[in-house]
Subunit: 546 residues, 2 copies
């Protein structure tokens, strides 16, 4: 049996366009003589459709496309496994449909509905109440959806006792495992997937076809990287990461020792760059933009975002605004200009002194600067206004350039440097920002991001001689503490027991807690770690910090 | 048996302070000779604690307070029913604990974990796997938590087949129903509760003690309104709405015909005002502020927010900024001044012409205004900057004044009029804003909000002679269509079939869809309707609008 796999980049809500892409893939598989073609989870709606599925009309239209447009292609064509929302007795399910010879076979429903991290599936769907093995050709097959495979072994310990649908399906005689997924990228995820699938293949003596969505949808970056294992747990094929792919596999190959085995996944700075590039490109395109504007401070954050924007959109579609204030150093403008030249992007210098002075005239008795925090914020907000002005007047998407460390401790200005439609590096700790900037220069084989930008002490330059380290611990200390506090949910005491100083840990935890009001109004940030802000970490604002 | 009920306003995360309030209530009940005292759901942490409970240390500390501080008071004192997080075998539960004579009796866990609307409980907790009836005095009692009672009858139809814990508990011999809740206010909710509880009392021939949390926690306003029913379904007592209360009930009264019955709940403009006042007051206090600043445009939205702020914080704690631009009408300043005078608040006039001109000098070739959308936004953002300046320098909480209709269609400026820590009327359709403004004047018996403000045609005044109705359908048409599209999730076709014109409905739906990026960065808005923006409606940004 020849099986085709369609790893597609689908747009959320784009039912008609997604259906057209799916149909084209079926036709392509048919032309190739494939017997079966497999698509990812919730392919028609794109994932995550979120509250769109609370519109009955949306799910109705999805089903209509499935029945009228897709199903007929299986009559005399290849069979199809595809993810779709499915309604029965008024209840909604996340389903995998097996379509063969013009008929919809009994529906396979998702058993395990993730609600952790960025997920909310219990908001929409009910779990499967019974499971059945599907005969595909002569292969009894366990058709499962994403989370369904993650109960096995010790790979994912969740807070509640959960059933293991695989155990039931393989006890029921399954020999092949198909898992259709919409599994978002984070650094380290691919290794988890491959360890799990290799384990499952051996545990159940099964071939595995793991099909993942690709593409950026708001904060989430789906990396594709679909996988094929034989029943020895050998990795036969890994599809492209961060791009679409269409490939074929012979079912016989799933049940014999492999000639060549794929090397294990590499997850490194390259994959982070690829992920961010895809997330940025798709966010811009899927929101209907084609070009982006950002402020260039001469610092490493905006430099990295500019470099990513060039990679994602092309230099001709990126505009950098260099907006010095009375407190900007000479080198900041020089570094920003050098960056713009290196990247080949358009740039414009707009000194903010005049509006800043106009505000001070309104706000201060004699119009002189007080150089307090309010005036620091004011400068950042004037810049935010200018960036947004270019967005509003000229149709650029505004990119916010703040990193995760800043957002964590609130070292950023709401409506100022936080302004923008997408916060490209909001989930990158500052140290990772430096590493990526250095790595980009290495990849380019030249000084793409100016060395001065990478080497100088970080500064907001909102008052004379300001340095980040006047207000914050050094990033080499800050970032690991933030990681323990935010990603691992450790308490102050638990972090101190790892050897960090109580006073510093307390200060950082307090800064994090008190900055929640800023993060609540932050632009969506591309997810790179296990715990991004936004839907990944949901904290009350009005609370105590005991 | 004398039963005390403590309807408390608890602060999220304030474990020590909440424990102190709980202890004081137990002591008070003991002094009165009560046998039992009942508290609301998740009392120690406050509700909703959100991702705080993902910190193991947080739940540990909660349990420590329960065991060491609260439990000992039941030795020789009244028994206690209280909500708390509970961990067992590494899994977390939302529990109701019965503490008596210094011992924790078998734990009652929540069976039904809501994930709809603003709720996320499956993110944290597992459901009860078995239920037991508790003997309290000589009364076999069903101890349940909030959602547990909402499966009965037709009162709440959810998307998935659910068990009904009440059926199991009353089949098991229960005669009294205790439900500890953290049930947030929305307009119409109290009637639903009272209809349901009266039905349950008769259905199961049971007395009912329904204890609800009170107080504002971020977007959510908990109204209290705790209820007592006898087994005839007669309402014996309704506690205060929107404030704390401590009251006693004799268990015998739960099982005989009532002498006097409470009249049904009234839900009207008064309750909306009380809800918003509480939500605003608590948000300010619980975030550590005591005073608030807002822009006064002379329009009805900012006038209503100012009036609410005066009610919540006192006139001496409210600052109104009147910020005319070159396009402001004379009457807008006059109306704003009249409002400030009527309310007795501080106010300051700051014309934005100078910074506006300074920006235009930077952005336009000859410095002349183009009067395009970008310049409209710029004026709004200058005002946002000024409001935030007073917040940053002088410690006022900034209040955003946008209404739900504007937010829905995106007739508002990100970082401009949307700026602020709390969006007080973000869940009020424009027509309800007018009704409340008029109602406040009626309550005050004088022109508190200037009549001109209420009667003039609404305008953003960001270009010459601008009126809302130049860009939007009249609110009398807009608001009902928004209600159908947003709160009832109807499609364009379904809305048209109610008699609305296709072209207008399509335009509105498109405006709503395209404004998602603004709402994602909006300040938290106090919830008043069944479907508020924010956590109540979770929509993708990068999507198609087919």
């Amino acid at each position: 049996m020849q099986i085709a796999v369609a790893q597609l980049n689908l747009k959320v809500g784009a039912l008609n366009n997604n259906a057209a892409k799916i149909k084209a893939s079926i036709v392509r598989a048919a032309d190739h003589g494939a017997d079966l073609v497999i698509f990812s989870e919730l392919s028609l709606s794109g994932y995550p459709p979120q509250d769109l599925v609370l519109y009955k009309s949306f799910v109705d239209r999805e089903w209509e496309l499935l029945e009228k447009e897709i199903l007929p292609l299986t009559l005399g064509g290849p069979a199809v496994v595809i993810g779709s929302a499915y309604r029965e007795n008024g209840f909604l399910y996340n389903a995998a449909l097996y379509l063969a010879e013009g008929r919809i076979k009994p529906v396979h429903r998702k058993s395990l509905l993730p609600n952790c991290a960025v997920f909310n599936e219990d908001r929409y769907c009910g779990p499967a109440s019974g499971l059945s093995v599907e005969m595909i050709g002569d292969l009894p097959t366990a058709i499962t959806i994403c989370e369904d495979i993650w109960s096995a072994g010790d790979y994912e310990k969740r807070q509640c006792g959960r059933t293991d649908p695989l155990k039931e399906l393989f006890t029921g005689g399954a020999r092949l495992l198909i898992n259709i997924s919409a599994s978002p990228y984070h650094l380290g995820r691919q290794k988890q997937r491959e360890d799990l699938l290799a384990f499952l293949a051996r545990e159940y003596n099964t071939g595995i076809l793991y099909i993942n969505q690709v593409g950026g949808n708001d904060e989430l970056i789906f990396d594709g990287s679909s996988l094929v294992y034989n029943n020895r747990g050998q990795l036969l094929y890994r599809a492209a990461s961060f791009s679409e792919e269409f490939f074929y596999i012979e079912s016989n190959d799933l049940f014999k020792t492999a000639g060549t085995i794929c090397p294990p996944a590499k997850e490194d700075l390259d994959t982070v760059l690829q992920a961010l590039t895809l997330g940025l490109r798709d966010y811009v395109a899927k929101t209907g933009f084609s070009k982006a504007v950002l402020g260039l401070s001469g610092g490493v954050d905006s430099a990295l975002v500019a470099a990513l924007a060039v990679e994602a959109l092309g230099a001709e579609n990126v505009l950098g605004l260099i907006m010095p204030s009375p407190y900007s150093s000479d080198h900041s403008v020089k570094d920003a200009l050098a960056l713009a030249d290196n990247l080949g992007i358009k740039r414009q210098i707009i000194a903010i002194n005049k509006p800043f002075t106009a505000y001070l005239d309104l706000l201060n008795d004699n119009g002189n600067a007080l150089q307090d925090l309010a005036e620091e914020n004011l400068q950042a907000r004037i810049r935010g206004n200018l960036v947004m002005h270019f967005s509003n007047r000229e149709g650029y998407l505004a990119l916010a350039t703040g990193n995760k460390s800043e957002l964590a401790v609130g070292y950023c200005t709401l409506y100022g440097d936080m302004a923008g439609g997408l916060a490209v590096i909001a989930d990158l700790p500052k140290i990772l920002v430096y590493e990526l900037a250095t790595h980009i220069n290495k990849l380019k084989g030249k000084e793409f991001i100016p060395r001065d930008t990478i080497e100088k002490a970080p500064s907001a330059e909102l008052r004379p001689d300001q340095k980040d380290e006047d207000s914050l611990p050094p990033y080499a200390l800050l970032d690991p503490i933030l990681q323990l506090y935010i990603e691992e949910n450790l308490s102050i005491n638990e972090i101190c027991s790892r050897g960090y100083e109580q006073e510093i840990v307390e200060k950082i935890a307090q800064l994090v807690d008190k900055a929640e009001f800023k993060r609540r109004q932050a632009a969506p940030g591309l997810r790179v770690t296990t715990r991004s802000f936004g839907s990944g970490r949901r904290m009350p604002i009005a609370r105590s910090y005991e």
